[in-house]
């Protein structure tokens, strides 16, 4: 099934996953991509080409807030935090996602 390839993010899930990880605490882009890769057990690999545009888009919509802060190594990095609006958005996206996956699995189970 996997064919050794990394599957692409289903449409619309990237935003939700980013919001989820950022909700755990302020995080910079690199750590975020590492975290997603680790938690998904290397199934998802986030390329910078999709990560940063997505982060900036979410910031644009007011779902994320960004601040420049020092990392442990003393270097400045852009840390993202979830806003109240982002929290609401995340909740509604999770709701939608659950409804969608429930419907899909229901069809898969019954339409045999």
């Amino acid at each position: 099934m996997m064919n050794g390839e990394r599957p692409e993010f289903p449409k619309g899930t990237l935003d939700m996953l980013i919001l989820k990880i950022v909700a755990l605490g302020p995080i910079h882009g690199y750590a975020l991509s590492q975290r997603i890769q680790q938690i998904s057990k290397d199934v998802f690999q986030l390329t910078q080409g999709s990560l940063y545009p997505a982060l900036h888009r979410l910031e644009d919509r007011g779902w994320l807030k960004a601040d420049w802060k020092d990392t442990e190594t003393g270097r400045e990095a852009k840390f993202y935090t979830l806003t109240r609006k982002g929290q609401k958005q995340f909740e509604s996206e999770v709701l939608n996602w659950n409804r969608l996956t429930d419907a899909v699995s229901l069809i898969l189970r019954t339409a045999e």
């Binding site: 910079h28 882009g29 690199y30 390329t47 080409g49 940063y52 545009p53 900036h56 644009d60």
Partner: protein, 220 residues
Amino acid sequence: MRWLRRRLFSHVVEEQLDAELRFHLDQQIAEYVVQGISPEEAHRRAQIDIGGVEQVKQKCPERRWENHVASVYRDIRIAMRSARKDRRFALLAILSLALGIGATTLIFSLIDSVLLHPFPYTNTDRLVGLSIVSAQRNLDRLPVSAFLDFKEQNHVFEDMIGLSFAEMHYLDHDAVESRGMSAESALMLVAARLRYVAATRWGTKRCLQMNRLAQVVAIS
């Protein structure tokens, strides 16, 4: 407001975007080095991973405006180049565009002036032309005195306006006659606003129906 701030502080935005991506690159390199890869190789791999800083930047919303401008500029240049390459085709294209635009504009302005906005007056549907037709069915002229009589005795029209195609005769303050012809000089009744609708349409022209008018006058 955000886009305005971006325009005004575009260099700051660009620097921050650069710094963010550079940070990511450096972290990735450090990660590879920790895994025991030589710094040069780590650098190369991290570069491949990030897949071109400029491409990443172009996808960010901060750069969307610039991208639009750049792509429009590119399109114009391509258009100019291909137009120069095949002049006959370009000429044909321009000609058909011009004809198309011209024809549509013409038809629209016709429809606009004839159907949509025929006259710049209120209640245009009640405006009629009034003229006297002689026994020989020639359009006759009406003396000023007759027009004034009509105007005075009229109780069919809201108002009447006379139009003269000839020079008029008038008196100034000291009752000195200046410039003109006799008081009976040519004049036509041109516009009268109907108080009662006594007009019928004959084609596009609106004509007074005399029997109907007579009836109306008789009633009032």
